[in-house]
Symmetry: C2
Subunit: 393 residues, 2 copies
């Protein structure tokens, strides 16, 4: 079939707070083909900046928009999707945002192709089974240890066997407070469950402090300590992991390119590499990191803080790899993120999450929710209307 249209829709909650909650807005991408097949994807990125990559005027042969790259192209096989991924990165060589923006299109292409062929995406990727995953509820720390313990207890009561606590006050009020936050997470979740700690890049390039925090947190047995350092502090990650801290180190959500993930695994020495399918360039790019992680003995984990459209896309990438067993699962999300698809991936009675047995991504975008949260957007440049998202139809 032929790609007939590529449309990006910015969605947002009515008010946006300056907190680290990535579900307050989003950019969803719809691909339509000449056969009437429709695929959907989602970017974890600034909606306006990424929308601009879909419609920007050509600057020269290395700055060509995603729309111009895709419309009119053939879409018949996984190889077409991989070819278009290369084409988009080549024509967008000098657009730094290309990976963030193209992620939504790539996911939508896999969804559309799966629907056309009647196969789930994990099968298109060549996997033979889709394994259930252990979801860890991903939430922000409470403002205090007490509030954190209450959040943890609520998650445990909701049936979560693992939960990750991140950002918020961590790293901001000294090591005693940090330890109390971790202790509260452990107390609330109980000894039998898993906790993960996400430091939210708070120690920047200070691997010494990161090491000592790992030691301080070790008695509470977190599964990992995530992003103690800035995404670009690779040499510092390397020093930190070379000391073999008593809590394994996780990072990777800042990987905007496959090379950045490779750099983090090979030179940063992380144990868990956390890839956001909505940032790194979609399923095609994330899948490359799965292969790399397998080769290097690291554990691949999704990073997801968007809707169930993104959770499904994330899960297809590594559903077929039994040993990669954790699934990040946003447990405190905006109405927009919770309702974007009609059939979210619920946590089963065994505490695990499975993909729906359906073609493509297996989730269905709710047009009413797109309509309700649509941010009307209009971009004019040099006398031309480049984008005019005024209604969803």
């Amino acid at each position: 079939m032929i790609i007939a249209a590529v449309d990006a829709f910015p969605l947002a909650m009515p008010t946006i707070a300056e907190v680290s909650d990535g579900t307050q807005d989003t950019l969803v991408v719809r691909v339509r083909t000449d056969e009437g097949v429709e695929g959907w994807g989602e970017c974890d990125a600034s909606p306006l900046v990424s929308l601009a990559v879909y419609c920007c005027p050509m600057s020269h042969s290395n700055i060509i928009s995603i729309r111009d790259t895709l419309v009119g192209e053939r879409l018949d096989s996984p190889d077409d999707i991989r070819r278009l991924h290369r084409k988009a990165r080549r024509q967008g060589l000098d657009i730094e945002q290309i990976d963030h923006a193209y992620s939504g299109a790539d996911i939508a292409l896999w969804d559309a192709l799966g629907k056309r062929l009647g196969l789930p995406v994990w099968r298109l990727l060549g996997d033979e089974a889709a394994y259930p995953k252990l979801p860890y509820a991903s939430v922000l720390f409470g403002d205090t240890p007490d509030e954190t313990r209450r959040v943890a207890a609520r998650l445990r009561n909701a049936g979560f066997r693992a939960a990750k606590f991140g950002w918020g006050p961590m790293g901001r009020y000294g090591e005693g407070f940090d330890r109390d936050l971790v202790a509260a997470a452990r107390a609330g979740m109980g000894d039998e469950n898993e906790i993960m700690i996400d430091a939210g890049v708070v120690w920047g390039a200070d691997d010494e402090t990161a090491y000592h925090r790992a030691c301080l947190f070790a008695p509470y047995r977190p599964t990992w300590l995530e992003e103690p350092l800035s995404p670009d502090a690779i040499d510092e990650y390397g020093r930190l992991t070379a000391r073999r801290p008593p809590v394994p180190i996780a990072a990777g959500e800042g990987s905007n390119r496959v090379r950045a993930a490779a750099d983090l695994i090979q030179n940063g020495g992380v144990s868990f590499v956390q890839i956001d399918v909505g940032r790194i360039g979609g399923i095609t790019a994330a899948r490359e990191v799965v292969a790399l992680a397998k080769r290097r003995g690291a554990t691949y984990v999704n990073h997801t803080f968007k809707s169930h459209l993104s959770i499904a896309a994330s899960l297809h990438v590594f559903a077929g790899v039994a040993e990669f067993r954790y699934l990040e699962y946003p447990a405190a999300a905006s109405d927009l993120a919770r309702r974007l698809v009609k059939n979210p991936l619920a946590v089963g009675s065994d505490g695990l999450v499975r993909l729906h047995d359906a073609p493509g991504l297996g989730v269905e975008v709710d047009p009413g929710v797109v309509r309700a949260y649509l941010q009307p957007t209009r971009i004019e440049m040099g006398g031309k209307v480049l984008a005019d998202v005024s209604a969803f139809a």
Copy 2:
């Protein structure tokens, strides 16, 4: 003083061709302070995508626009500029385009501060002298060897002692044609001058072909072979340089972050690292690579394919380091790029380029040229006008 306004102006030639000429459009950034001081910078990036980073709505605490980051901030010292660089990257942590977009603002801040303090930027950076540099005329290959020889002869007659030929047909018609292109560049420039070859990422991840081309080109004594591989093909660069090809390898224009440049130097093993001050995050970020290159024994070179505003900004970064002696100097540029500043950095009678002895960057933007090439741009989102560049005043 206080930053009062940050404005970005997209400029473009009336028609844009699908060729690798980066001077067909641009985004210039103006910073104004409460004391009436004005600084200018330029981004080498998609103007629309980067403009969006200046005005995008907040998505959460890691996606905050450059305008919101800068307006109202103090600007009294180089440390303020470094602090604001960190702030912009922190508040733009999840905006992939942040480095490309912020480059223009960072350059404008250095320019403004220099003007305020009556000092050239290289002095603000702590250097004790500004050394003249050997400009290499940077041009595209002709479509044929004959045309390439004519281009080279013209540059030699214009007084250039070095010239770099790139992109175009290189790598597209087999090794015989590639060799003839290089031979023609050498013949046109004469034996006494320097030539550089820019392969324009044409061999992707194929380091074997890159190695053999380096051997094939060696008899024509190019100073370097540039970007034989994709910016992300670091392992392949590492394999290529480990074989010690007879022509030194150069790369780096694709470094959107300091870490990418570090990765290329440390793991890719390149001899020349070519940094675009309009992509990597401005003077502040490029300066970090100068220090890194010194430590690792690599040679820092600017990558510049924009106006003399960018040439000046590029040159301030490493003017103080005598041993980094090459200056990329676009010799075939659009009317827009050639005329953007009133006082371009001309090649002296000794064939070298020097900075003007003046505060800030030392070049003066021509308001008439900004006006003539301004691309009226209007961005509305969620009922708000985020950008309205309709006239230049």
